[in-house]
Symmetry: C2
Subunit: 411 residues, 2 copies
């Protein structure tokens, strides 16, 4: 049936396209498939009891607030909790610097709306987070890319990219999605120095920063940038917009995240958010505050670190055991993902088709490269499946890879 709408779609929809990952993941929805495809937390670590108690308290004592319309900026006590958390990281901000968003995906969408004119170039790591590319496609973003190695964005290639005049730099310094690699401290300094020299501001996306399983915590870009102030106090300079989320520490089903930005940026984001969804669910904000305040989150993060750290170890061990020579992969110090590179003559999308037949799935890496490439790369999630399934799934995938690569299957 033809309807009058299909002739009326806006020009920007031609750039949007459906997510390649989404289409591929539809293949993997059969229950007997072991999927390393999504980026889902483990349901094992959701704090069900705490949510139950929080819902009851919130509805009993503050139901009239929780179920009502709320401020676009977000629930004040939650914003103030985030301020205290941010201050602890080493930068002084106030609630005027915070906007609550409906997941970090909305923060990316709103930033695109207030910053990107059609044709504007955004400087990104290659590969980079697919959700940002999806959010910004509708605003007509173009990209200039900087390649990565095991220490993150190769900052030696940054200056050339900066000279093309990008509007801003978008970077995921900790356990990057998709590669799992972490930007080294030296390169963080270099990034800030060059960004400052060229006057190009930075959007730092940090969904996983707290989920570190080995090594030392590294200060965020936003923190290091604050230290550039001449008078030596660590006041927020406003050059870096910082994004984080409760999706990985509490639960993604709440759709709760936040932006740290200068007040004039927050005001524009608030205008954009008014038009986008008025405000983020008041109920979820009150419930998250009730669960998270008073120190529960810090303690809960330790549980997540333990569970995901073990799963990462199991996956790395299984890859050692089952993957054929010629496949390489990253060793993430935290987060949810690791990244595999097959020999040049392999196509990860083809490998996925064979893998799905063997009841295992992953995400081919090509869609994460905004300017092309990566046909032989793959992203594997280690947080969602339990250790037993990780073992079985990686064994299956090892078999598929060995067959594709014409090598004897290890037993």
């Amino acid at each position: 049936m033809q309807t009058p709408w299909e002739y009326r779609f806006a020009q920007r929809t031609q750039r949007m396209g459906s997510s390649a990952i989404r289409e591929l993941l539809k293949l993997t929805e059969q229950p007997d498939i072991i999927s390393f495809g999504g980026g889902m937390p483990a349901p094992d670590v959701f704090p069900y009891e705490q949510f139950m108690e929080a819902c009851e308290r919130v509805l009993r004592d503050q139901g009239h607030l929780a179920l009502q319309y709320g401020a676009t900026e977000g629930y004040k006590p939650l914003r103030e909790m985030i301020v205290r958390h941010t201050n602890r990281l080493g930068i002084e901000i106030t609630a005027e610097n915070i906007l609550i968003t409906t997941g970090s995906q909305q923060a990316l969408d709103l930033l695109g709306k207030i910053l990107i004119n059609p044709g504007d170039r955004i400087l990104v790591e290659s590969p980079t987070y697919l959700g940002a590319l999806q959010a910004w496609a509708g605003y007509g973003a173009e990209y200039v890319t900087v390649p990565m190695d095991e220490h993150g964005m190769i900052t030696d290639a940054l200056e050339e990219a900066l000279r093309t005049g990008p509007k801003f730099i978008y970077v995921l310094p900790n356990f990057q999605n998709p590669t799992g690699v972490t930007l080294s401290l030296e390169r963080r300094h270099k990034l800030i120095e060059l960004a400052d020299r060229y006057g190009v501001p930075i959007v730092e996306d940090d969904p996983y920063g707290q989920l570190r399983y080995e090594g030392e915590h590294l200060p965020g870009i936003v923190v290091l940038d604050s230290q550039l102030r001449e008078n030596g106090d660590q006041c927020y300079r406003g050059n870096v917009i910082y994004l984080s989320t409760f999706s990985k520490t509490l639960a993604p089903g709440l759709r709760l995240a936040w932006v740290v930005a200068p007040p004039e940026v927050i005001r524009k984001l608030v205008q954009a958010k008014q038009g986008a969804d008025l405000h983020t669910s008041t109920f979820n904000q009150l419930v998250a505050y009730e669960v998270a305040h008073g120190g529960f989150l810090d303690q809960h993060v330790k549980l997540i670190q333990k569970v995901y750290g073990e799963r990462r170890n199991v996956m790395l061990g299984a890859m050692d055991a089952y993957f054929p020579p010629g496949v390489e992969w990253t060793h993430p110090e935290g987060g949810l993902f690791l990244w595999g590179t097959l020999p040049e003559d392999q196509n990860a999308a083809e490998v996925l088709k064979a893998a799905v037949e063997q009841k295992v799935a992953f995400v081919p890496g090509a869609p994460f490269f905004p300017t092309g490439g990566g046909h032989n790369t793959m992203r594997l999630n280690f947080s969602n499946a339990n250790p037993e399934k990780i073992q079985t799934g990686i064994a299956r995938l090892g078999k598929v890879l060995s067959e594709k690569m014409g090598q004897p299957v290890s037993s």
Copy 2:
């Protein structure tokens, strides 16, 4: 402090502007002000007990789903519940026709994103819903307007507007925000007939359709349009995109609404929603389903009708008693708002300033007119304040109006 961001705001932000209403309502946040300004439901009618029980059941039995990422389209049982509800209204659709959105505001934003090219004209009632104007400002919408009277959009003026080539018609047929008026059955038929003749599709926004306090329910535009099918069965034709919400029947704090549209429109909206917020809170969808299914909503709507119907009567009675001659107002058969018109020489924004000093507030009407006008109009909400406050507030406002209009204050 200057930051690099303020030089980087996208061109579209110049059109966005902050909501005039929002700025005015900030004046009214003092606790001793009686505000008829917002569009908030009464906290008295929120079903707290049902929410408490639903949260417990959902977290106990389906917590692993409720707290996890979910499908962009929405929670299948909730979509199917909406399908049954829509079928009962008289049109046959399936879950392929439904998208769950983060409030109706998001539905408006996503429709803007997939349909509006900069400069496209949208045909709207004048005045119309301010949230639509806010959502579409960022997409560069222009407007062609059709005036209203007490029977809604004046369809005699519609044909001339249709000949300007609008992309679609946006209409709120039931208890319109801001005027509270309802489009008559005769004009509904005329609207559909003319839209069909010119091949221009319709977006029907119906947040309040169930909240009728007097008179007969009128079939929706989407229902009447379905009856145009030549073979006589009431299948959804796809010419009308229909929006509705749980904000007025359950609770706005959940941010839960839905779109009924042809599958090809739903697919585009899903792509846009992926980039905008991935999906609407799974937790809220499961809780709303748990509260709403099995007939609770029908029974609950009767309570809301009783409470709001009484408040409307109290407000209308108080206006009769306290407003000076020369002020006119609508008699809404449902919804949350009524609309006042002052003499031409009065400016409602000036009246508001005087009113706030007397501790009462409303929304001046001018921002609801996309192409100007309405300086002497005002929107009054009757759902949020209780009858006693409505009496007191309208008495205060009557005094302010009498003074402004140079008439003796009625006692």
